[in-house]
């Protein structure tokens, strides 16, 4: 009984050990796609960069197989045979390209299949894919070396430049070392600061104005938002334009009148200027005191002579030769006055 129990325990122990082993092997096989139907494709590379048998093959970032064999091909090329899952065959076309890459920066080398046109047929067992050359670490290092050389040149130039600047040479050097320039620059900066403050105030005002524009019911807001107000304003502006045109015309005429008045005034000024001179009759009358005295004397004589003439004429009326004429004239005037009075009072 005891022996039987021991045998069972040993049996369970062995059984479980074998089960773990088989599960592990199956899992490993599944992981490495050992028990999956596959096709074989190949690609010929110039350099495989340390690719090994068993390395993974990726398509669109998914592992679809492993490297089956690596052989030299031709003079110096390398043929890489790959086992590709049958399931993935439908996605890989005959014009797809194979490239050597790596799983990460320090990861294993892999073969990456990519590209391929949908209109081209899918790959078949034994097909040879086109190889795509990608930049390897060596090429990257070469480029970096070139970059380093350029960087050295740049830093050398920059060193010389900085040295010149430090010695105050050139415009930048002068700007950095001249104290007067520094003062001016400081003043400029202060002005700029003031300008910035003004701009800030302006922007504040603009902001508040914009805020008012947003306030409903205000004229500004209505101007911006109300279409009827805008239409009214537009018609007002049109009328204002007409009025302005009319006013312009009036102003034109007024300007013309003014220019005429100006001409008249010029004439008047010329006349008045002539009046101030004594080389003409009126000017002499107005300006010459001798002529005025003469005229006054003449007028005095004329007064005396007219008085005497009046007396003479009075005497003539009573002359027998002319008495009849004056009597008839008086009668005619009296009659005319009587007729007009009668006509006014019917």
């Amino acid at each position: 009984m005891n022996e039987n129990k021991r045998s069972v325990q040993v049996g369970i122990f062995i059984f479980l050990g074998i089960v773990i082993f088989i599960v592990g092997v199956l899992f490993l096989g599944g992981q490495q796609k050992r028990f999956i139907k596959s096709i074989e494709v190949a690609a010929v590379f110039d350099d495989v960069g340390g690719l090994k048998v068993g390395n993974n093959v990726w398509f669109s970032g998914v592992k679809i197989g492993t490297v089956r064999a690596i052989h030299f091909y031709g003079k110096s090329q390398v043929e890489v045979s790959m086992n590709i899952e049958k399931e993935a065959q439908q996605y890989i076309h005959k014009d797809a390209e194979a490239a050597i890459s790596s799983e990460g920066f320090i990861g294993n080398k892999i073969v990456v299949i990519g590209g391929g046109s949908p209109q081209i047929a899918t790959v078949e067992d034994g097909d040879i894919l086109r190889a795509k050359t990608v930049l390897g670490t060596d090429q990257i290092m070469e480029t970096l070396q070139e970059n380093n050389k350029n960087l050295l040149k740049i830093t050398t130039d920059f060193k010389g430049l900085v040295s010149k600047i430090a010695r105050g040479k050139g415009t930048v050097g002068a700007v950095l070392t001249d104290s007067l320039l520094a003062e001016e620059f400081r003043a400029t900066v202060m002005h700029l600061q003031k300008a910035a403050q003004n701009a800030e105030r302006l922007s504040g005002s603009l902001s508040s104005y914009a805020g008012k524009l947003q306030t409903k019911g205000t004229l500004a807001n209505e101007l911006v938002t109300d279409t009827s107000v805008f239409a009214g304003i537009r018609s007002s502006v049109a009328q204002l334009k007409k009025t302005a045109t009319t006013a312009q015309e009036i102003a034109g005429k007024a300007s013309e009148a003014v220019s005429k008045a100006n001409a008249a005034s010029n004439n008047f000024a010329a006349a008045s200027e002539k009046l101030t001179r004594s080389d003409n009759a009126i000017g002499t009358l107005l300006n010459d005191p001798q002529a005025a005295a003469d005229l006054k004397t003449t007028l005095k004589y004329l007064g005396t002579s007219s008085k005497k003439l009046d007396e003479d004429l009075e005497a003539a009326q009573h002359n027998f030769l002319l008495r009849g004429f004056f009597k008839k004239k008086a009668k005619r005037e009296a009659k005319a006055a009587k007729d007009s009075l009668e006509q006014k009072t019917p």
Partner: protein, 265 residues
């Protein structure tokens, strides 16, 4: 014509003679093991008993050792990978280390200490107490009954113990990885099996068969050829352990060379 027999003249030197004689004895012993193993009658009961002693009874000790090994190795490897920001590679590193080297070695060394010494002491005491002679007299083949059964048990139980060790050590490592990197079990297992190959698994299993055979054969040889007296028993147990461990490391080195040659470049 009385010829007096003096001390036998050594063929090479005394030491070299002793070494080559020992080599011959070991070879003859190993050859006899193979010969007796295939020839009937088969001592199935004794084999099952020895499998129980060697395998089943060693499981708790081996499991505990494997579990601790997994945790400790993971924890000690983390800083190195962390310097490169590559802690995500920890499962792969652990898997390779455990499957390729740690599990077979740890299992074999623990078994050499526990089982090898046990076999050496047991057979040594039987030799000292003349039980082996008694068995021969009673028409029982002591070699088949004592040696072949034990060698058979160690040869077949060590690989199974190694598989348990792999499983337990990977679990221990997972606990540590999950605790620190919050890696899910599925991701962990995927990374583990991504890193190892069939060559790793089968080379470890085959290596464990060799280790198991070595432990059994050395233990049995030392016990079977132990000198008389209680001192001889202790010496047999001690030399069984030391020689087994030494041979295990030598075999590990040879196995490494063979597997490296087989690994695709």
């Amino acid at each position: 014509m009385n010829e007096q027999k003096g001390p036998e003249k050594p063929v090479l030197t005394r030491r070299l003679d002793r070494f080559f004689l020992e080599m011959y004895a070991v070879s003859a012993f190993v050859g006899r093991i193979f010969k007796e193993a295939f020839l009937p009658p088969y001592e199935f009961r004794e084999i099952v008993k020895q499998c129980f002693e060697v395998g089943y009874k060693s499981l708790p000790l081996i499991s505990l050792t494997g579990f601790i090994t997994g945790i400790v190795f993971t924890n000690q490897s983390r800083p190195s990978l962390s310097e490169f920001g590559a802690t995500s590679w920890l499962p792969a590193l652990i898997a390779i280390a455990i499957v390729r080297a740690l599990a077979p070695l740890v299992t074999a060394l623990i078994a050499a200490g526990k089982v090898g010494s046990n076999i050496g002491a047991e057979l040594g005491s039987m030799k000292v107490t003349e039980q082996i002679d008694a068995m021969e007299v009673s028409a029982t083949n002591p070699f088949k009954f004592l040696v072949v059964s034990r060698v058979f048990a160690t040869t077949f139980m060590i690989p199974i113990l190694m598989i348990y060790t792999v499983a337990v050590a990977l679990m221990g490592a997972y606990i540590n990885v999950h605790q620190n990197e919050a890696t899910s079990f599925q991701t962990y297992i995927t990374q583990v099996f991504n890193a190892i190959t069939f060559l790793d698994v089968f080379s470890s299993v085959i290596k464990s068969f060799v280790f198991g055979f070595t432990i059994g054969a050395v233990g049995c040889y030392k016990g079977y050829h132990s000198s008389k007296g209680t001192e001889g028993v202790g010496k047999a147990a001690n030399t069984a352990v030391v020689t087994s461990m030494f041979l295990i490391f030598i075999e590990e080195l040879i196995a490494l060379q063979i597997v490296s040659a087989l690994r695709p470049s």
